[in-house]
């Protein structure tokens, strides 16, 4: 919040945009953060009013699909974005990044974050949280994944059994649910 030196355009560094969440909470966020959400950006472009600073926080943008708890996490992610997007060039760094991705909440929280990032058309965030969820299910059993995504298995038992035998090695070493 206090660090405005990253903003390439100092004249607009103090511009704030107010976002209103589904539970009617108001968030006053820096323009640079809000503009990462293409849905918000589009809102201004549609209004043919790109001079955000002039209208400032008097404009309230409703986000009826985003809960305040989710928006707070997305904003906190935005502020850490530069590190998060650094390329991992070795195994240890990848492990560190995995740990970082784990900090954003439970798998259920990640589903909320993915839905919100998708609604807000926030590409970097969507990739980041998709990856975090992929980390989580990577070593999970088929049963866990079905339950997680609310999917009912529809293979005949003998079909599934045959497949599991054929690819037994892909079923070795899965995590405990």
């Amino acid at each position: 919040m206090s660090n405005t030196s990253e903003n390439p355009n100092p004249s607009s560094s103090s511009a704030k945009i107010t976002l209103k969440t589904s539970d009617n909470e108001l968030f006053e966020v820096e323009e640079a953060v809000a503009m990462k959400f293409c849905t918000v950006k589009q809102y201004f472009e549609d209004e043919k009013d790109n001079d955000v600073a002039a209208r400032g926080s008097s404009t309230v943008i409703p986000l009826p699909n985003v809960h305040s708890a989710v928006l707070a996490r997305l904003i906190s992610y935005c502020k850490k974005l530069p590190q998060s997007n650094a390329v991992a060039d070795n195994h240890e760094e990848e492990e560190t990044k995995k740990k970082e991705r784990k900090q954003y909440g439970t798998p259920g929280d990640l589903v909320d974050l993915i839905s919100a990032a998708n609604y807000l058309d926030f590409k970097e965030g969507l990739e980041f949280f998709n990856q975090a969820l992929a980390d989580h299910i990577q070593n999970k059993s088929v049963e866990y994944v079905r339950k997680f995504f609310g999917i009912k298995g529809d293979f005949e038992p003998h079909e599934e059994e045959k497949y599991r035998e054929e690819y037994a090695w892909a079923f070795e070493g899965v995590d405990e649910d």
Binding site: G108, I114, V145, R146, F149, G153
Partner: protein, 121 residues
């Protein structure tokens, strides 16, 4: 264990699956018929390949694949050597189904391209 029952639309599920390694995808083909069709589909396979070449983890995935026998156990193992470092980044046992029941069976890797290996017995 799980608190949410919220379902994600299919296009988002696909975007999540793109981040998974092939081993996990092979297992998840069992989830249901539509996932099986999706994961086996040419469209997804191409997307998955391109995804792995363009995302931040590409340095981990692009490189040489080395087949060797471990000194102590004499088991066959695969090792990955990323182009960037040319150091072994990970090692995995060769699946027993590739070796047959007879441990003296010999097989050679003839070549590899984009993660596909051609082996000969």
């Amino acid at each position: 264990m799980l608190t949410t029952n919220e379902e994600l639309p299919e296009d988002l599920v696909i975007q999540i699956l793109l981040w998974l390694p092939v081993m996990s995808l092979l297992r998840l083909k069992c989830v249901c018929k539509s996932w099986c069709d999706l994961i086996s589909g040419q469209n997804f396979i191409t997307k998955h390949l391109l995804h792995n070449q363009t995302t931040s983890n590409k340095n981990m995935n692009v490189g040489f694949l080395l087949l060797r026998r471990e000194k102590t156990s004499h088991n066959y193992v695969f090792s990955k050597l990323p182009y960037e470092t040319l150091e072994i980044s990970s090692t995995q046992a060769v699946p027993s189904s590739c070796l047959g029941t007879n441990k003296t069976d010999k097989f050679d890797i003839v070549g590899s391209s984009n993660g596909l290996n051609l082996s000969s017995y």
